[in-house]
Symmetry: C2
Subunit: 344 residues, 2 copies
């Protein structure tokens, strides 16, 4: 993840996520229907629990990647792309069910988490059932390829989550460690979503590979953004209460940079608070972060990844999916910019 790529990110005019959503509307409607049908595939005794998890209120970033990287033109709905989108979304929802157990999360998307609703024990198994059904659907493609890449990807996602779990409250995490963890836990499924979209749409191997590289860098960028939201969002909203990641001891990029840049005394105070799981003091306030240029450093990391994502697609500017894919980079840049502008 180095080297100076040719930035191909589109101008702000095309940064509108709603515009993308309007274009993939027919595909998302087909996905809704697909997911409702999936509920029926579960054993009757656990069907309502599966329905609870397979709700349709999420952001559906991974299905968006499948549809966009396999884009064949407005209004063209491919059953195979819908099925692949369903597979990656089910894998993602399964990981959320298990993540929420580990984070002791009670609420997600304004609903009680599966762990809160059904108990942690049942939620462990329910996540397993969702994983299994995802792989069962993956096995409905004519060849074993989808199953193979999704199963491998899922293993990597879990590996990344395990690393994060084992290194909670470990203040010695380096940027390389952090990058490796988010590469596995987030970027991997973004990568596979883009791989599957372009592959299933019948693109040549060089574009399929470029599409996968694009997805990976977009995934890294997205996770860094998400970690910044967690840090700034919570801090801004409720004063010095810990963000979700901080409360569970996850060391993300804002905090890694802060630990690097704080003077020794403040650093020691922050480390003590982190180790004891106490609210962070002034050292981690938004003001102090701004003084130290933390957000700037985080945003630079995001921009670097987005530039690499764009560069991967540079040789393929004339292909149908490319403009929409690049627009996704622009959308994320827009969201990052909005985050830096203080609310009025």
């Amino acid at each position: 993840m180095s080297g100076p790529p040719a930035a191909s990110v589109p101008p702000a005019a095309s940064r509108d996520f709603n515009a993308i959503f309007a274009r993939i509307g027919p595909q998302m409607t087909a996905l809704d229907q697909f997911m409702r049908l999936q509920v029926e595939r579960f054993e009757p005794e656990i069907r309502s629990m599966a329905a609870y998890c397979l709700d349709t209120t999420g952001k559906r970033l991974r299905p968006t990647l499948v549809f966009v990287s396999g884009w064949q033109g407005d209004g063209v709905v491919s059953d195979d792309l819908v099925r692949a989108a369903g597979v990656v979304e089910m894998v993602h929802l399964a990981t959320l069910v298990h993540d929420d157990i580990m984070d002791r999360a009670e609420i997600r998307r304004n609903h009680r988490t599966a762990a809160r609703e059904f108990g942690a024990d049942a939620a462990v198994l329910l996540g397993d059932a969702l994983f299994s059904q995802a792989l069962h659907v993956a096995a409905q493609f004519p060849t074993t390829e989808v199953c193979r890449v999704v199963a491998e990807s899922t293993r990597k996602v879990c590996s990344g989550e395990i690393m994060q779990t084992l290194r909670r409250r470990d203040i010695n995490i380096s940027f390389a460690d952090y990058e490796r963890m988010i590469d596995l836990k987030t970027a991997e499924l973004f990568r596979v979503s883009c791989f599957l979209g372009s592959r299933i749409s019948g693109h040549a191997p060089d574009f399929v590979e470029a599409s996968a590289v694009f997805g990976r860098h977009l995934g890294v960028a997205y996770q860094i953004y998400d970690d910044l939201v967690d840090f700034l969002g919570e801090e801004g909203r409720i004063g010095k209460t810990l963000g979700t990641d901080l409360a569970t001891g996850k060391l993300t990029l804002p905090l890694i940079l802060l630990l690097e840049k704080l003077p020794p005394a403040e650093r020691a105070e922050l480390v003590k608070s982190l180790r004891e799981g106490r609210p962070l003091g002034l050292a981690a306030s938004v003001g102090r972060m701004r003084e130290l240029g933390i957000a700037t450093g985080v945003v630079a990391a995001i921009d670097r990844e987005l530039a690499l994502a764009g560069a991967a697609l540079a040789p393929f500017g004339t292909l149908t999916p490319t403009p929409l894919m690049l627009t996704l980079c622009g959308v994320l840049q827009g969201q990052v910019a909005a985050l830096q502008t203080p609310p009025c």
Copy 2:
């Protein structure tokens, strides 16, 4: 699961499990090697954890079923059968990792459970990684069939486990409920093991189907036996301390029959103890169970399933795998008989 089958279970002379193990020794050795290679497939950061779970000390009943139902003669080791055996064993080991979280089990096979060794949170994800790797291996067969049946089977196993988890301490469980739960949580993977063994060895569809039916009934029989072991074993060994199942509130066949047959006053006392998670009194003693013929009822249920398993293979007596498969029924009968004989 009714009707009078033609019993085809072999005489006691062929009930020796060691004799079977001696014959599938070369296959098991190949499986050992396969499992060790699998460890290398995990990300370096979690490899030692994967190795901890993929140990070689288990009973390996499911691989045994794959090898026996795909039997091609002494000394013939098929790579495909070894791979299929590895898949079902990995799925099984993954479910054990998750089961032990739910049962708060500390020890399995004289080792600390993964949950105890790495923490419940990491164990959730580690189980997921094992599942994923199993499906990744399943996707290495030329067609999607192995992936499809294993993924579906895994979903069913999880559904069965969820039912059991949700109905802990529910004293209104019927025999039909119990049968449905063990059919899913245990018999399903036995069924798939036998399906894969015979299918991969190239048998005709009618034998493959019969082999699957055999596996299912053997699986139901085995789970009932295992539940009896839990009940009697613990009771006999440490007086009135709860068996593992009882401690976690699982209502298994011995207890279901006991609740049916006890006089009202004793039943009320037992129900109270169960609900409160207290040690069971005299009502659940081995002596009382013997007076009420509980073990006899449980053994009759096992025999019924074994007879159905044998009957499924009756038309295929001349095929290579059949004698070994029937011997497995005899082995289980022998174990059941040994359980009924009080130790000297």
